[in-house]
Symmetry: C2
Amino acid sequence: MPAEAKVPASTARPAAQPASPPLTERQEARRRRILHASAQLASRGGFDAVQMREVAESSQVALGTLYRYFPSKVHLLVATMQDQLEHMHGTLRKKPPTGETAAERVAETLMRAFRALQREPHLADAMVRALTFADRSVSPEVDQVSRQTTAIILDAMGLDDPTPEQLSAVRVIEHTWHSALITWLSGRASIAQVKIDIETVCRLIDLTGPGERL
Amino acid sequence: MPAEAKVPASTARPAAQPASPPLTERQEARRRRILHASAQLASRGGFDAVQMREVAESSQVALGTLYRYFPSKVHLLVATMQDQLEHMHGTLRKKPPTGETAAERVAETLMRAFRALQREPHLADAMVRALTFADRSVSPEVDQVSRQTTAIILDAMGLDDPTPEQLSAVRVIEHTWHSALITWLSGRASIAQVKIDIETVCRLIDLTGPGERL
DNA sequence: CGGTAATCTAGAACAAGTTTCAGACTTGAT
DNA sequence: ATCAAGTCTGAAACTTGTTCTAGATTACCG
């Protein structure tokens, strides 16, 4: 019979996972080392600096093992993003935004996240590029990131059960968030411009507010 | 002195180009063959199917020459997108949108473009993935695509000199457009959902309309 | 404990993007 | 027509993501 339980197809820890045998302690440690190495390399030189051989070496794992845990570089980086997002969500929970309106609070939250990303622009580059470059084979993982982001935004809005209109607005905000990050990372938009775009899109929230204004 | 003028760093033809010696007829023909081959391969299997060696072979050009015209696969695909966008803009000009409000016309225009993309989903995949994956070295070309997209949207709005607020709204619409396409292409959103997102974000236009409602 | 099935390792091998190079070919100027 | 400079070609080499393999290790069941 099995030795170390079969490794799950690169999934996160905390959130509920349909069916993936729990990891051995050593496996958990390996996974953690890999994610750490990934984030570290990404922080240096972004997407390109995360080279699978280097990740394997840094995390003291054979290349084949790395691929067993994360079936591709994009899977690895998306998992890295999941990891960082949890961090961020935790941090944000502690100091909730203070704005008056939901729109203000969401913008405030996103700008806070944006400032965090600015501190590690290379890491941001690696994660966001991986996220948008991901193909169908990474959909479940990308979806998980999306859900986490949605949760953060809904938290900021202070909503428990949003209307379909509000969910649309949130989706649009996420779209804008990702795409604005991309333009910033590739040097085509300034920090100020990203700020404006975020504030602009957040106005949509007012349109779908409790008053149901259309 | 030079023979065939030095090839420009992969730029489009029609739009004004800062400084790039005009192409020989044969060079122009090569460029065209390359773009055609690129689009053809992309239509088959998307981003992955556009293999540089195959593009070179299909377009009867040496690999080195291909790289002289387009310094990377991403450059090539972004140029392919520029090419297709011109087409599209021309087509759209002929049948302007009929909606009452600017928001309706923009949504109508984008949905028309979306339907065109649905006819060649693989091509769309290749172009959009290249666009969002592009790094700084492709910024000028990506920017050109962005300007073209902006022009299409402003056309639909029927505006000549937009206010800064309106430009913000247009940028947000573009963000949403790109990101929504990505989610559709990677199978994480349905066509219906993309439609909703586009319609949702287009409401922003009303917020920044002539009335200057904040 | 012993057996056994799965995992991990080291390293080779493969695939596709990118670079490089020597030599043949074009072009525009004289 | 000739020449110099730049371009194109064909092919090999290099890089990095990904796959594969044989053997050493590990985990768990009985």
